[in-house]
């Protein structure tokens, strides 16, 4: 159970980090359009 939790938590963190990178990129695109 612990193993599943640790693996899922790790994947979730990196998924959030990729989303965060995409968000930063979108913010940059918005700022360029202004």
């Amino acid at each position: 159970m612990w193993d599943i939790g640790c693996v899922v938590a790790s994947i979730l963190f990196f998924y959030i980090a990729i989303g965060y990178a995409t968000g930063c990129d979108r913010l940059g695109a918005k700022e360029t359009q202004r």
Binding site: W2, C6, S10, F14, A17, A21, T22, C24, L27, T32
Partner: protein
């Protein structure tokens, strides 16, 4: 403080200064794919790696692709590390028949080594098999350092390129960092360490008979005490020198043994101690020259180096001064320097290194994100212990981790030129690139994530007696320093421990793992966003309003910005920790 101590400190720094330029120029040629003297050896190997792995070395990546590839690579290697730790009892090279690592500790360790932190909540010689140490931990020592260097080079390219959408290729940069810089460096360095007496073998641990058997009283989990006579000592062995080399050169810091660089098999002589400190600073210092070379602004590279050197000497002065002072609580003890004693505070320090080299090591290891220790930071005087803490809190930009130090410092450079632009009422520029709203937003994101993690996790740990406070062995301001240091070290990806905190608990393993991941990856993303943004910009010709970034004034401004950001953020916490402890010590109280 003694003249001999200062001579050793200046000699160490002169050595770093001497080697920074040739290595920095070599790295610039390596990362810009120019010809070097090592082409004949490494170029065929590099091509072979690309052919075997299917990497197209001509493919250029946008910052988002660079970031996503780096994140996925880190995730996969972290999970493989976790799996090997858990299964080590069923894998070879485990002569001590060590059990699989507990899941929370395995996650903590996997996050720790993936992020170049190397925080260790365990005793390596009784927890990790040789295979785990070599296949996963040493592997991360190489690749987490190579990733740091690749990221720094990506940012440098962002600064130097004009109207470009790309920053390079992550696979090529990490391969080049490992193959052309870290591997040859470690090969030579490991042999030098072996020459000093660092062990390198696969033998089971030696057993020795004690000359004087010891009687030890232990308290079990049920609270009952038991007395036993110990007649044998187990002397740990292992492939230490090879791991020690990358531990220091890659600013990793995770010890092969629990005592880290205080262990005589890891750091046996004053010469090996000098080599270890030198190897921590070597690549980070050289990267400032690489910055100057690739951006075609060598004076700017030296101005950044000067800012780092200023902060380094300030730190080492305070640490050495604090540790060389007599302890005011020991009124009746002669603590003056003499032929038979070092004077000052020798608690937690190795006699073979003394006060100067312990204070210097503590400063160097926390200026850089290394985290190796040759003395116990917990045993430092309050102001001596303040220095390692502040060094990490400033973002480890004083030379810093390999790559991480430089890109952290360049974020402060962006803020410094922004502030300079505000002061003179001009659009801020950095090496011909306009610094705009998006760049400053990303820089502030980078700066704010750091204290949010440190202070947030520390506050939660302090508010939960059963989870956070129960692991402490000291109370009062010293206890606060221990918790604050743990989260600062984790978020800063340093990995050194203040001590006095039994961190191998579910709460600390999981919260410190989270802090390490946040401190590494959530700070890299905005940094790469700045790199991508700068690469896209046109070059603006210098005007009378341009703030020059190669002058002493720039260096002073940069140091000021770093200190102000650090002081404003962390001073309240520091005043309740080491500063209060210092004042109470002079009032006659200890914790």
């Amino acid at each position: 403080m003694t003249a001999n101590g200062w001579f050793q400190i200046f000699f160490f720094f002169a050595l770093v200064l001497l080697c920074a330029k040739p290595l920095g120029l070599y790295m610039a040629r390596v990362f810009e794919r120019e010809r070097t003297f090592a082409d004949r050896v490494f170029r065929p190997l590099e091509r072979l790696i690309y052919r075997l792995t299917g990497i197209d070395e001509t493919h250029e990546m946008r910052w988002t692709e660079y970031a996503v590839v780096m994140l996925l690579f880190s995730l996969v290697t972290m999970l493989v590390t976790y799996a090997i730790e858990r299964l080590q009892h069923a894998l070879p090279l485990n002569p001590q028949h060590l059990a699989g690592v507990a899941p929370d500790l395995a996650l903590n360790t996997a996050a720790s080594f993936t992020t170049n932190t190397n925080w260790q909540s365990y005793v390596p010689e009784t927890t990790m098999s040789y295979l785990t140490q070599m296949l996963t931990l040493a592997y991360h020592n190489f690749f987490s350092a190579a990733v740091g260097m690749a990221l720094a080079v990506a940012l440098i390219r962002g600064i130097s390129r004009r109207e470009s959408k790309t920053l390079g290729n992550f696979w090529v940069d990490t391969t080049r960092a490992s193959l052309w810089v870290l591997l040859p460096g470690c090969l030579i360095y490991a042999l030098l360490l072996v020459s000093q007496g660092v062990v390198q073998n696969f033998r089971p641990y030696d057993q020795a008979k004690l000359v004087q058997p010891q009687t030890v009283t232990t308290t079990g989990t049920d609270g009952k005490t038991a007395t036993q006579t110990v007649t044998d000592q187990s002397i740990a062995q292992g492939p230490t020198a090879s791991q020690e080399a990358i531990k220091m050169l890659g600013t990793n810091g995770g010890g092969f043994f629990n005592a880290n660089s205080a262990h005589p098999f890891e750091n046996p002589t004053p010469l090996s101690n000098l080599m270890q400190m030198f190897s921590i600073f070597l690549i980070p210092a050289a990267l400032t020259v690489t910055l100057g070379r690739i951006t075609r602004a060598p004076k700017h590279g030296w101005a950044v180096f000067a800012a780092m050197a200023t902060l380094f000497f300030a730190g080492v002065f305070v640490a050495y001064y604090a540790e060389a002072q007599p302890n005011p609580l020991l009124h009746s003890v002669n603590q003056h320097v003499a032929a038979t004693q070092a004077g000052g505070n020798m608690e937690g320090k190795e006699v073979r290194f003394g006060i100067a080299n312990s204070a210097l090591f503590a400063t160097v290891t926390t200026d850089a994100s290394c985290g190796a220790v040759n003395s116990m930071h917990d045993s430092f005087m309050p102001l001596g212990g303040l220095v390692p803490l502040v060094n990490i809190m400033l973002g480890e930009v004083i030379f810093g981790g390999v790559g991480a130090g430089l890109y952290g410092m360049l974020i402060f450079v962006v803020l410094a030129v922004f502030i300079a632009g505000l002061m003179v009422g001009r659009t801020p520029e950095y090496l011909g690139k306009k610094i705009e709203s998006y760049d400053v937003k990303m820089a502030m994101l980078y700066v704010l994530i750091f204290p949010l993690s440190i202070l947030g996790f520390s506050a939660v740990a302090l508010m939960m007696p059963n989870l956070g406070l129960s692991a402490l062995t000291n109370t009062g301001p010293h206890g606060l320093s221990e918790i604050l240091y743990a989260y600062t070290s984790a978020t800063g990806n340093n990995g050194s421990a203040f001590g006095g905190l039994s961190a191998n608990t579910h709460w600390y393993n999981l919260s410190l793992a989270s802090a390490m991941l946040i401190g590494r990856f959530l700070m890299i993303v905005p940094m790469l966003a700045i790199a991508g943004s700068l690469a896209r910009k046109k070059l603006v010709p210098p005007s009378p309003g341009t703030f020059p970034v190669h002058t002493p004034l720039f260096t002073v401004l940069l140091v000021g910005v770093i200190l102000i950001v650090g002081a404003l953020t962390f001073f309240p916490a520091l005043s309740l920790g080491p500063i209060l402890e210092h004042l109470l010590m002079h009032a006659g109280r200890s914790f």
